[in-house]
């Protein structure tokens, strides 16, 4: 059974149909890329999945539970982690504290008013930092990290929640080219190890073809193709809608 299922999602903005009729599924442990030209509806689709956008029609099922238009924090508690286009971290905390905060939330310690938070979950936090290669900067203010490291920190924060699915909206936006491949390779390795599924959007086709198990292509609010890299590359509709731009230039 699929971990995440979207059925006939539709969303209009005024007269503009951002998402026309999207149905797809992500299996446990799968690494799936959602691609498409600008304005294809990827971001709206993502917004629906993580509860920020209420769809006009359709539903989202996670592990058989209807989570359509659930608030983000409920979705999170179910085991869906996410990263943001612009990295979102807790700027007043150290790198380690960012992770500790996520662990505190995960383990239900939030409403404790006594006892220092920074003494909680130090070892699991350091283990998560080691996983993403940030073990040496745990005590630094996270505002001092380079952007690529912030993205890694965000990934570790998401992993602290022991997600079964990671939603990553343009995870490599704003990063240097070499960093991008490194980050997504890391995501792929960790996802494999933890049998965590990943659904991400990405503009860089090299990365998509390199790391994704499966690729879904959107155009004008519709899913026009899906399959592995070779299938998608060969698909004439995709070439026309997307890769065709390359031919024209």
């Amino acid at each position: 059974m699929s971990l995440l299922r979207a059925h006939n999602l539709r969303k209009d903005y005024g007269g503009v149909r951002a998402v026309a009729d999207m149905s797809f599924a992500v299996d446990a442990g799968d690494m799936v890329a959602l691609i498409g030209p600008n304005g294809a509806g990827k971001s709206t689709c993502f917004g629906i999945l993580n509860g920020q956008v209420r769809p006009d029609a359709g539903q989202v099922l996670f592990d058989g539970i209807d989570i359509t238009a659930w608030p983000a924090r409920r979705v999170a508690r179910l085991g869906i982690g996410r990263s943001f286009q612009i990295a979102q971290t807790f700027g007043s905390m150290s790198v380690r504290e960012n992770i500790q905060m996520a662990l505190i939330a995960r383990r239900g310690f939030v409403w404790r008013f006594i006892g220092p938070a920074r003494a909680l979950f130090v070892e699991p936090a350091d283990a998560l930092l080691a996983q993403v290669g940030l073990e040496h900067v745990g005590d630094r203010a996270c505002a001092t990290l380079a952007y690529g490291d912030l993205k890694r920190l965000e990934l570790a924060v998401a992993l602290a929640n022991q997600p079964r699915l990671l939603l990553m909206d343009e995870p490599t936006a704003g990063m240097a080219a070499a960093d991008r491949v490194d980050l997504m390779t890391l995501v792929r390795r960790i996802a494999r190890e933890q049998r965590c599924a990943v659904l991400f959007t990405e503009h860089d086709m090299d990365i998509v073809f390199a790391v994704a198990d499966r690729i879904m292509v959107m155009d004008r609010g519709l899913l026009i193709a899906e399959g592995d890299a070779a299938t998608v590359r060969a698909n004439p509709a995709v070439r026309a809608a997307y890769l065709g731009e390359d031919d024209a230039t």
Partner: protein, 607 residues
């Protein structure tokens, strides 16, 4: 029927005055994003200037109109001076500092005005045409009110033409929509902001001048006017002139009918309407969500581990305070008692402002609620109070204020900073109005007297203050405090790890309310009395100043701030006849010089 018509027209006249005040405030806010606390002072200046001009002119309608316009222009000129001299320097400062700086202007103006015009109310001698009546449906209705009713829409129309049919208006609207984009397109911001501030100030002056025939120029108008203007602007939507007009109509009519039907509850009624509007339309009737102003949002300061010596210093301070009554005299102990209470008051506010990221301009509301709760409970028993009943009375203070804070917080925490600041201020004014008007319960302005504890109270204050401060400090470093900070640093990320920012913030409101309530209860017994002044705007500002003096980004800050402020206040009050002037100047200097507060200025490591 006659009653309805009469009240309706009275309401319209009131609406026109409200609109004139609110229009200037909202135009200024729209472009500069500054909530100008001194707008009421400009209104008051307009009234006084108009008095000086009109009493020297022939008393016919033409000269009256000319005099009123001259007063408006003069107020506009004062506005220009204010903008160039002060506001221009703080456009990128946090909004709370802007509010405070303009409140400093309020204080300075309050002390300077009596020097120029004397302390007494100045009535405008009214020539016959100003006293005229028009008969409408057999009811005599003041001619001047009808003139006001006509002026409201006229000013609205002129403003609309200015905003929609002139180049200046296009620039204003562009800057309101997106200030940075307007700047990127080559619009000279400095000139635009100055011009807008002049326009808004002139409108305030016009409102003040026009108020003169119905009410003498007096020195209390500034704060009452600004609170009304805040309500109108918030209900209408910040930055929306049309919204201000609608809201002025709504509030004006509510006031007219409220005073006639349920005089006691008018203020409460207005607040209830405001709450309903904001729950249904969080941006006001015609307001749009505020576009974020880029570059002004300061990155949250990193809060590190407190240095090891801090615990020792605090313990030493506590021991010195325990021994103090054996060393120093009763006057010093009284000041020390006040300082301890001030620390608790400030520490609660710091929790919601610092880690919570929520400014409050009405923190005295909770202080007052606590003070009245304690005093009324004590009054229900027999004085003087034995320790057990004192404990019950004192416990009532944080419980009442904390629950009220939690309930209020639940409704308002999803609003943005400026709305929050204005709403907390408005709520404090409601509490103040109830305290001063519900004489049966609170004794009105005479207050509640004779609530003395039957024991040495200083050590009680010291023990409870120290315990509260310690608990608040632990709370900030506890998981809850971290979660609160997480929601402030990045609400989307906080939600994504399963936190509930709304609930976290509402609880912070409750904690801050409880701390302020306890401070109020202690203060009631320390002074043996409770007065409505405990809930005044000035007292809310005291709390803010203490927090800012100590530094929002530090945990030790409110303690330093409370101590420094109480000491400073004591000194200022003794040596300076014009303490408002000094305090106002100090606030402005503080905002200009130390945007991070005192502890922030000397901080190498986080405290």
């Amino acid at each position: 029927m006659d009653f309805l018509v009469n009240q309706f027209l009275t309401g319209l006249a009131g609406s026109a005055s409200l609109f004139l005040i609110a229009a200037g405030l909202t135009v200024i806010f729209g472009v500069t994003r500054i909530v100008n606390f001194s707008h009421g002072s400009l209104f008051m200046l307009g009234a006084y200037i108009a008095w000086s001009i009109l009493t020297r002119l022939p008393r016919d309608p033409t000269w009256f109109a000319a005099g009123v316009l001259a007063a408006a222009l003069a107020t506009g000129a004062i506005g220009i001076a204010l903008e160039v001299g002060l506001l221009r320097r703080i456009y990128r400062a946090p909004e709370l500092f802007q509010l405070l700086a303009t409140f400093g202007v309020v204080l300075i103006v309050q002390d300077l005005m009596p020097l120029l015009w004397g302390p007494n109310d100045l009535p405008l001698p009214r020539p016959p045409w100003l006293r005229g009546f028009v008969t409408i449906l057999d009811q005599r209705f003041p001619l001047y009110d009808l003139i006001l009713i006509a002026l409201g829409p006229l000013v609205l129309a002129l403003l609309w033409l200015l905003l929609h049919r002139t180049r200046f208006g296009i620039l204003i609207r562009a800057a309101t929509e997106d200030r940075d984009m307007a700047a990127a397109l080559g619009i000279d911001q400095r000139r635009l902001f100055t011009a807008v501030f002049a326009l808004g100030s002139a409108l305030a002056g016009l409102g003040g001048a026009l108020s003169l025939p119905n009410a003498s120029a007096n020195l209390q108008t500034d704060l009452s006017v600004i609170v009304e203007a805040f309500v109108v602007v918030v209900v209408g939507g910040l930055g929306s002139v049309g919204g201000a007009f609608l809201a002025a109509l709504l509030i004006g009519e509510l006031q007219a009918f409220g005073i006639a039907l349920i005089p006691r509850a008018t203020l409460v009624l207005i607040f209830a309407v405001m709450a309903v509007v904001l729950i249904l339309r969080p941006n006001g009737l015609l307001g749009k969500p505020l576009a974020p102003v880029r570059g002004s949002a300061s990155a949250p300061a990193f809060i590190g581990r407190p240095p090891n010596w801090l615990g020792g210093v605090l313990l030493l301070g506590f021991l010195l305070a325990v021994a103090a009554p054996f060393v120093v005299g009763p006057h010093k102990i009284a000041i020390l008692t006040e300082a301890l209470i001030a620390m608790v008051f400030a520490a609660g506010l710091h929790l919601m402002m610092g880690p919570g990221g929520m400014p409050s301009f009405g923190h005295a509301a909770w202080f007052g609620l606590g003070a009245y709760a304690a005093a009324l409970t004590a009054k229900a028993f027999l004085a003087p109070l034995p320790p057990t009943l004192l404990a019950v009375s004192l416990a009532a203070a944080p419980i009442v204020a904390g629950l009220a804070g939690l309930a209020f917080g639940w409704f308002v925490v999803r609003l943005s900073g400026v709305y929050l600041a204005m709403l907390t201020l408005a709520f404090a004014q409601i509490v103040w109005a109830v305290a001063s008007q519900w004489t049966g319960l609170t004794g009105g302005d005479d207050g509640i007297l004779g609530v003395w504890p039957n024991m040495p109270f200083y050590w009680v204050v010291l023990t409870l203050s120290a315990a509260t401060l310690w608990l608040l400090r632990r709370t900030i470093y506890a998981p809850y405090g971290y979660a609160l900070r997480a929601a402030r640093d990045s609400a989307p990320r906080a939600e994504a790890i399963g936190l509930n920012p709304h609930a976290l913030r509402a609880v912070a409101f409750g904690i801050a309310g409880a701390a302020a309530g306890l401070a109020g209860g202690l203060f009631a017994f320390a002074k043996g009395s409770v007065f409505p002044t405990y809930v005044s705007i000035g007292h809310s500002v005291d709390a803010l100043l203490m927090v800012l003096l100590g530094g929002v980004g530090t945990v030790i800050g409110p303690m330093i701030g409370g101590l420094a402020y109480t000491g400073l206040y004591d000194v200022l009050l003794q040596v300076l006849p014009m303490w408002r002037l000094a305090l106002g100047g100090l606030i402005i200097a503080l905002v200009l010089a130390f945007p991070n507060g005192l502890a922030g200025a000397v901080r190498g490591r986080a405290l």
